[in-house]
Symmetry: C2
Subunit: 198 residues, 2 copies
């Protein structure tokens, strides 16, 4: 029994969030009750604001607020390299590496014949159009390292190579700091095949 | 670089929540962007509502929405047993056990001479007043099992016992399913002292 219906309601709504179970939801709800009114209202407003303001960038299909997203409209990005990812959520991890300064193209999914996702369901036509008009030297295929991601990467590589654009794929191998003992055979096999001379 | 300022703002606000780091915050933000507008607005409303509606129950000092909290005003609770806890967040775990059907009394903290928290800073006067007017047979002291919690429990036991009310304390011992090997000495010592005949 929770002592207040609106507290119970908040816990229920918080529990829908990914990675948040009932205990975390309660912990967050109690924290919200304890915090300043401002903190809680700012969070509520940020949620509403994001739904009101954010749409897809018409160039790269990442989330954007102004016409173009902040990355596409930045003058500090290298416009000659395009990194192709499946979903908007794949952009922040790449940004966090600090090693990529080009532009992105978000496909909006991955090819999956089983789930009925074909090329026309992804932003592949728009990618090809960008490659036709923008001066792109390299396309990095950063789709996931699973069956769908690999299928999508192979499909795109076949499509893009004839344009004379360099096509690269993220390397597979052992995670840095990872131990051989715990690596699965496929990853380890990939690491052996892609071994580098030292 | 995050592609939209209001997305970045939402991530910043989500990251303040307890147990939510930057990666979880991003995951939740992307989930909110992907979900129906209704889901996001319901969450935002639930946050505002909880701040608007919830106050402290004047009887037990747990969170409440109407005058008395849902537990104090329920006619299904056993009014002869009172469970004393430190904070409102300690009530849900006890409720989840399904083994307690009495009423609560929330102290609003624990005695801590070092942090300058004395008896007058907690709802101890109000607890004694309840024991004077309500027909209570047993008080379960369910403060934490740390120094402050034990100090508070001892202090309350000395105060309540003269009233002729039975005072009990939650048992300490090995966590169920826990292994001896991983138990700390103090817990294990407590488990030996409180051993039961089988």
């Amino acid at each position: 029994m929770i002592s207040s219906p609106s507290l119970q309601h908040l816990v229920d709504e918080l529990e829908r969030m990914p990675g948040v179970g009932v205990k975390s939801a309660q912990r967050i709800a109690f924290w919200l009750l304890n915090s300043d009114r401002d903190v809680a209202l700012r969070l509520a407003e940020a949620i509403v604001e994001v739904k009101d303001r954010v749409h897809f960038c018409p160039q790269c299909f990442n989330y954007a607020e102004d016409d173009l997203c902040a990355i596409c409209s930045s003058d500090r990005r290298d416009r000659s390299v395009l990194c192709v990812v499946s979903e908007p959520r794949d952009v922040p991890p790449i940004e966090r590496t600090g090693l990529f300064s080009g532009l992105y193209h978000v496909l909006g999914g991955e090819l999956s014949p089983l789930s009925g996702v074909g090329p026309d369901d992804l932003h592949i036509g728009q990618l090809m159009a960008r490659l036709g008009t923008e001066e792109v030297n390299e396309v990095i295929l950063a789709t996931n390292s699973n069956v769908e991601g690999e299928t999508t990467a192979s499909y795109l590589a076949r499509l893009i190579r004839p344009l004379g654009v360099k096509v690269t794929r993220l390397a597979s191998g052992l995670p840095v700091g990872g131990e051989l003992e715990y690596a699965d055979e496929v990853t380890l096999g990939r690491a052996i095949e892609s071994r580098r001379e030292m």
